[in-house]
């Protein structure tokens, strides 16, 4: 479920919780004057337009929402893993691991985009993901085996469907042509 940002006056979006959290975040930013990525330093003395402010506000709320959801999943995975080892894991430790994983996810996203762009593609592929894990050989090997598993599962159904639909289309078009000529 992603928040869809239509207009600032969309009543369904602006319920009191979101409004309060956004207000809080704007107040934080104004108070801290932290240089976020949107306050680009190369823009010099340029004033930030209203559109950019809206974008910044939306970005921050989306960012925090995503971070929280990611943190929840990471915490559950980490706790399951610790339980598997028969150990307990401390709260700050698991939060730290979740934050590290989020930073790693950001780096992975950047790498995937760069690899896909380098290959002249717009869509990120499985090969890009396998390449992004190149630093560790074992990790690369396990990802490659997963990749082959996924490839082995789908192409049979996909190829048959593609071949079948192509054949059906040919038959349909040829039969249509026949009908037209006979009608004439």
């Amino acid at each position: 479920m992603l928040i869809e940002y239509h207009s600032p006056y969309n009543a369904a979006f602006w319920n009191w919780r979101v409004y309060f959290s956004l207000y809080y975040r704007i107040a934080q930013q104004v108070h801290r004057r932290k240089p976020s990525s949107c306050f680009a330093m190369d823009v010099g003395g340029e004033d930030i337009s209203d559109l950019q402010v809206d974008q910044i506000v939306e970005d921050d709320s989306m960012d925090d929402l995503i971070r929280d959801r990611f943190r929840l999943s990471a915490i559950s995975i980490a706790e399951a893993e610790a339980k598997k080892n028969g150990m307990e894991i401390g709260g700050p430790v698991v939060a730290c691991v979740a934050d590290l994983a989020f930073k790693y996810a950001e780096n992975v996203a950047k790498d995937l985009e760069l690899f896909a762009h380098h290959a002249g593609r717009k869509v990120v592929n499985m090969d890009d993901v396998v390449l992004s894990a190149h630093r560790n050989d074992n990790l690369a090997a396990s990802l490659r085996s997963l990749c082959n598993e996924l490839k082995a599962k789908e192409p049979q159904s996909d190829r048959k469907r593609k071949k079948g639909s192509a054949k059906k289309e040919d038959k349909a078009s040829s039969s249509n042509a026949v009908r037209i000529t006979t009608d004439l």
Binding site: S76, I77, G86, V93, V97, V124, D137, L139, S142, L143
Partner: protein, 134 residues
Amino acid sequence: MVVIFHDFSFTFFKIISLEFFAPGSFVTCVMDANNTFDSDLIHAIFKHIWARRFRERERSDAIDATEAEIALGTTKKNRLASANANALKLSCELLKSFVSEAVQRAAIIAEAEGMDKIEATHLERILPQLLLDF
């Protein structure tokens, strides 16, 4: 060294010693039913980051592009990236293995110390090698 779990019995502590803890070694490779990251969540994260980078590129292109570049057509097209479904599944597994590895390696250190709770000091010690491996 890759240890593959097919069940949840935990015997590898008896097999390995701390010597395996060398660069390039790998503790876990879980390939059976386990909770993992949600594919939609990872998709949302990637889209968010790609959209942010797209906007930054647009902004810097508007500022930087010299007239000669535009005339020659040497400026690269600014495309917004999107992800394949299988690529998302793989990256879910990648991120999950990051979290699993961190916890497993810290658990090894904690076990070696004889404690039953993973503390921040254990995480601290495995962190450099973890970041180099990922």
